[in-house]
């Protein structure tokens, strides 16, 4: 891995250069929160927020995606399907959000390949930004991750006192920077040390930790435990946790359009809604909030580890921060751990 430095005043030039050749997504501020949007000019970005409200999964797994177009009706036919091919860059993605893509890869490239996600994933360069100041519910370190981890990134930037330390992690990252080399110079030992200290300091400020030891076998014995009733009692079924979660990926498919032309679209759905599993016959395998809350926890902390060998949680804490009724996933898993079962 190559370590370079970029002086802070050169960042706009770097960004504008990237955006001239790629579709560039970066964090912007709107209405007192951060969201990833396409950036045409450096000034549109706002790097002062830690996390975007909606996770950047929305770039690779769009909330509304056209799967194909058709001519509707009984003499209808398929018109076209376009798999996105454009080259893009996500700038200032946080290490935990980058990790969510590594988790989602298994879903979208399982028995069948989802060409929409996979194509965008292949054509997207991830430029991360170290979290110098994690927030109060951050718990990425639970998953062997770190606020300064470059594991799931192509390039990682860390803000130093005067410069950005630029670590080129993958060939994809290297290629992106090829004609921007003039903006960068070799990092000094001191700068590499400074970056290390920043990461260590950031790790030391993370207060929260989830104890995952033995959780998978424990959950196997707890399917009918009253904990799920008790947890679901205060759940209002709002679905915010699923919409903001970087690893939630469930979707609905619908036909929309006019009488002349239409499209089959897919759109984010939420397992917290009763309609989600409701059969046309009226039968619902998950009729109560208890079933739905339990399924959400099991999906992330039991089914995912069993099927994909990874826990479907990054420690971003969006679900904790924005749950209106304080269902705190760390607290839930801690309770699972604390319950004694024969």
């Amino acid at each position: 891995m190559e370590s370079l430095v970029l002086s802070k005043n050169k960042l706009p030039e770097l960004i504008n250069k990237i955006s001239s050749e790629h579709i560039l997504y970066g964090p912007t501020e709107e209405n007192n929160y951060s969201s990833f949007k396409q950036i045409l000019n450096f000034d549109e970005m706002n790097l002062s927020y830690l996390l975007s409200r909606v996770s950047p999964k929305s770039i690779l797994f769009k909330q509304t995606e056209t799967l194909f177009k058709f001519i509707p009706g009984r003499k209808g036919s398929v018109k076209s399907s376009e798999i996105p091919e454009e080259k893009s860059v996500i700038f200032a993605i946080r290490p935990c959000d980058a990790r969510s893509f590594s988790i989602l890869d298994g879903v979208f490239n399982g028995d069948y390949e989802d060409p929409f996600y996979i194509s965008k994933r292949k054509n997207t360069v991830l430029i991360g930004l170290t979290c110098n100041k994690p927030e109060q519910n951050c718990f990425c370190t639970t998953f062997d991750d770190s606020p300064g981890s470059s594991k799931n990134l192509d390039i990682l930037l860390t803000e130093l006192n005067n410069n950005y330390l630029v670590e080129v992690v993958t060939e994809k990252g290297n290629n992106l920077l090829k004609n921007m080399r003039s903006l960068l110079k070799e990092a000094s030992k001191e700068e590499i040390q400074e970056r290390k200290e920043i990461e260590e300091h950031a790790i030391s400020t993370i207060n929260r930790k989830m104890n995952l030891e033995g959780i998978v076998p424990k959950l196997d014995k707890m399917f009918d435990h009253e904990l799920w009733h008790n947890t679901a009692f205060k759940c209002i079924g709002c679905g915010i946790c699923t919409f903001l979660c970087p690893t939630c990926h469930c979707f609905d498919m619908q036909d929309e359009g006019t009488l002349k032309e239409g499209a089959r679209i897919r759109v984010w759905d939420s397992c917290m809604y009763p309609e989600y599993t409701h059969h046309a016959s009226g039968h619902n395998p998950r009729p109560a909030r208890m079933n739905r809350v339990r399924n959400r926890v099991y999906h992330k902390f039991s089914y995912f580890p069993k099927n994909e060998d990874v826990t479907a949680c990054t420690g971003c804490a969006r679900c904790i921060d924005y749950c209106p009724v304080n269902i705190d996933i760390i607290d839930v898993i801690d309770k699972v751990g604390a319950i004694l079962i024969e």
Binding site: Y33, L244, W268, P324
Partner: protein, 327 residues
């Protein structure tokens, strides 16, 4: 300020009643300034109950959320009452639900707490980011006195007060079985936020304003789920035949959803602000609700949820009802 001891004592008595299933109140959350709804089935649990200016959540949403799953053979329906702690606006929600026959008055034990306004979580978190715990929070002489790590901070009330509280017309519960503490002096309701300026804009400007907000909507429907008055068995947003709103998330469908939501609450919204507080993308939904509330007041001289014996606005007809808005 509510006497914590008195609250716990009174709620314990209610939970102990044989005809009460549980009481819904507030307890401290798992981190920072978080508050969690709490469900007490036994008097011991009530020791966790608190009430402070952070207790914003409208608990009136819960009795209606109670799931009545099919009974097993020989099982009898549990008809015991549910106790619920309510502030002024929350009590209006219960009134409204009872008027609409969504709940039966006799199935509820209503524990009223007079309220002088609640703190907006978003505001306090931006003032004190990364605070892992607080020891005490109370309102005193126009300030919030907040003790964090042994340090006391006095923050002017208006800096943290939830916006919708300034336009509150019922700080004291309007329906209750027991009132904890003394009634508070109501204040002169103010026009909500920038509603006045918004109203001075042209139609085009207003449209642009709302377009900018609605385009951000992620259609999670948290506004609906958090609202104590959004309790239709099947929401029009979920219907497939006919499909009133398409699932695509775009300006057109988002606008349809947000406007339909607001209109379905015309004459029903009690101004508790839950929808706006939970909105993950900060859409100022209360500006819509408050405008409709103002219109309803002006046209029908009606305020939702004030009197349990009144009929719902759209459940009654007066020969002199205005009709100029009917095209």
């Amino acid at each position: 300020m509510v006497d914590q001891k008195l609250l716990v004592e009174e709620v314990k008595k209610i939970v102990s009643q044989e005809d009460v299933k549980y009481v819904i109140g507030y307890k401290k959350g798992t981190y920072g300034f978080a508050i969690s709804p709490a469900f007490a089935y036994s008097p011991e649990y009530v020791d966790k109950f608190i009430f402070n200016p952070l207790c914003k959540k409208n608990l009136a949403v819960y009795p209606i959320l109670e799931e009545k799953l099919p009974l097993k053979k020989g099982e009898k329906a549990d008809t015991r009452k549910i106790g619920v702690i309510v502030k002024g606006c929350d009590s209006r929600a219960l009134n409204q639900i009872i008027q609409e026959k969504g709940q039966k008055r006799e199935n509820l034990v209503i524990i009223g707490i007079p309220c002088t306004g609640v703190i907006d979580q978003k505001k306090i978190i931006s003032k004190f980011p990364n605070v892992t715990d607080y020891t005490d929070i109370e309102e005193k002489n126009g300030n919030y006195k907040i003790s964090i790590n042994g340090e006391v901070h006095n923050i002017p009330k208006e800096e943290l007060l939830a916006d919708f509280c300034t336009s509150c017309v019922a700080p004291n519960p309007v329906i209750y079985d027991i009132l904890i503490g003394d009634e508070v002096e109501p204040w002169e309701p103010q026009e909500h936020n920038n509603l006045k300026e918004l109203n001075e804009k042209t139609i085009e400007e207003k449209w642009a304003y709302w377009e900018e907000h609605f385009q951000r909507c992620i259609r999670c429907y948290a506004c609906r789920e958090a609202c104590p008055l959004c309790y239709c068995k099947e929401c029009m947003a979920d219907m497939l035949t006919p499909q009133w709103i398409r699932r695509s998330v775009n300006l057109s469908e988002n606008t349809a959803w947000n406007i339909m939501r607001a209109y379905h609450l015309a004459g029903r919204c009690v101004g508790c602000g839950e929808c706006e507080s939970v909105c993950p993308v900060n859409i100022p939904l209360m500006e819509l609700n408050k405008q409709i509330e103002n219109d309803v007041k002006e046209m029908f001289n009606y305020t939702a949820g004030m009197d349990v014996d009144e009929k719902p606005l759209f459940g009654m007809f007066r020969p002199d009802d205005p009709e100029e808005f009917i095209l």
